[in-house]
Amino acid sequence: MNIIVCAKQVVDVSEMKIDSATKKPILQGVPQKISDIDKNAMEEAIKIKEKHGGKITVLTVGPANAKERIKELLAMGADEGLLVTAPENIDYHMTATLLAEAIKKIGGYNIILCGEASIDMFSGQIGPRLAANLKIPQITYAQSVTAEKDKITADRNMGEQMIITESTYPVLVTVTKEINVPRLPSLMQILASANKPINEITADSLTKNLNPLVQTIDLKGVSMERKNVVYKDDIDESVKQLVNNLAKEGVLRG
């Protein structure tokens, strides 16, 4: 089974600071990481490989330093990495096109795994877009999957419905956070992964004249001012004060 895991390098949103004057997020210096759910996609790929054998390729479109992130997934169990280096402000159309071109180049794949959505943008757009570009079926929001020799079956969490969908290969599957608990690589695995190949190609070498269809022209800040009154001591007293304050705020009404 040949599996491609699409993994994105993102800023760690929980480490983001807000500029107190402009209320805008400060984008410089925020730690980078692999988008959380892409680790679940990686873990699922390993499980499928454990059952059927084959090869796992991690594919990332991103800046050159995303190589460090790919190494983390190689340590988890991927066999090799492919980094498509791209200019900074690329849109979904460009990302999906580059992923599709890279995948055509890799060739011979059965399953493409993506996250349900990336933690920074949370669009859930790349998976379906990529499936459209490759003209293959898409199975979204998979909460569990069973891969067999010639088909895959997934339980999909669609909110008000649970839907079981199956598909022959090749197929693109997007997974949710609940599908598994990603493994933490051991020190041995981390060391061994240094020998696994990471290929690097430029966006230009895959396709020329790729322009954004959508551009982010501004990032507006959102402020959240809170009173931050915290009671720490005697619980009875705390409860009393809280209830008095809620009454004053006018939220206790019969």
């Binding site: 997020p25 898409q138 979204t140 269809l213 809280l242 809620l246 939220v251």
Partner: protein
């Protein structure tokens, strides 16, 4: 043409009012789309809510599959020469819109609460970085696809005297290799956290499913009656249904009072409740992030605090 599609009637009606506004500014018309059975009454209803035309794509597809629907919708877009496409932002709509974007090589913005024209360009704003910012996105090309969540826009006043044209056409989509094996309706209790004025939410601080009655009880005495929860309670433990789930990947709420008990306050949870009026947090960890997003907090064991809070509120409210 401004094209509107959702499998959810209410979102379609809400989008029609936005579509009418965009159509006016771009000197175009609004077409509502129905995919499936030729439902003439529904078509009339869409006209009374602002559609100039209704395009019914008759298919006998039994289930929704994004691959097949996206193919049909791409044909409708071409036939109606649509330049702006609004799709309802439920789970089906999002994967449909994204796939349509891929098929048409069109720009797509998911989950936009604010869409407007500026200098002849379509702009769509959306929340990014888990609620830390709003990105203003500009489309440089046509067609442009935007998905719109429920309650983003108020519907127009229903006017049954409005006239519109209904086109029916059989359209065959490309068949997909995927197959729906089984659909199970999840048990829901008709809870609507999005409209609730008071919400009491629970998180992993609760040890058993049964203990959730503590939040229910507090919600009851507060006359709020609405229980919310963090993602793990709905998605991992399945102690509550999806309709209670609040956050980035769940429901976005804005009650007058939001009480979070046993919730750590990770940014993905905050993304769903940051527009609340007063926020109260109960957590035994004094360093829990939730206190940073709260107006009032009590550091303590929820199993001690909640019963006391319930009786204190009872007493206060008489």
């Amino acid at each position: 043409m401004v094209l509107v599609y959702s499998d959810n009637k209410n979102i379609t009606i809400e989008m029609l009012s936005k579509a009418a506004e965009l159509a006016k500014e771009t000197k175009k018309k609004v077409t509502a789309t129905i995919i499936g059975k030729a439902d003439e009454n529904l078509a009339k209803e869409y006209i009374s809510y602002g559609a100039d035309k209704v395009f019914i794509a008759e298919t006998n597809l039994k289930d929704f599959k994004a691959e097949e629907y996206a193919d049909i919708l791409s044909k409708i877009v071409k036939e109606t020469k649509s330049e702006i496409i609004l799709v309802g932002s439920n789970k089906n709509g999002k994967e449909l819109a994204a796939r349509l974007g891929g098929l048409l090589n069109a720009g797509c913005i998911v989950d936009s609460n604010n869409v407007y024209m500026k200098n002849n360009k379509l702009l769509a704003e959306r929340i990014v970085y888990s609620g830390n910012a709003i990105a203003v996105n500009q489309f440089n090309s046509k067609p442009a696809i935007v998905t719109i969540p429920s309650k983003a826009f108020d519907p127009l006043k229903k006017d049954t005297s409005r006239k519109g044209e209904v086109t029916k056409k059989k359209i065959d989509g490309e068949k997909s290799n995927s197959k729906i094996v089984k659909v199970t309706e999840m048990k829901t209790g008709g809870v609507n956290v999005e409209d609730a004025e008071i919400i009491v939410s629970c998180g992993r601080g609760f040890k058993n499913k049964d203990d959730i009655k503590l939040v229910q009880e507090l919600a009851d005495v507060l006359k709020g009656k609405t229980v919310g929860c963090s993602r793990p309670i709905a998605a991992d433990m399945k102690w509550l249904s999806e309709e209670h789930w609040i956050g980035l990947s769940g429901h976005k709420v804005k009650p007058k009072l939001y009480i979070a008990a046993g919730i750590s306050g990770q940014i993905q949870h905050i993304a769903g409740m940051r527009d609340s009026g007063i926020v109260v947090a109960i957590n035994k960890d004094p360093d829990a992030l939730i206190f940073k997003s709260a107006d009032y907090g009590i550091v303590g064991d929820l199993y001690t605090v909640l019963p006391k809070l319930i009786s204190a509120v009872k007493e206060k409210m008489g």
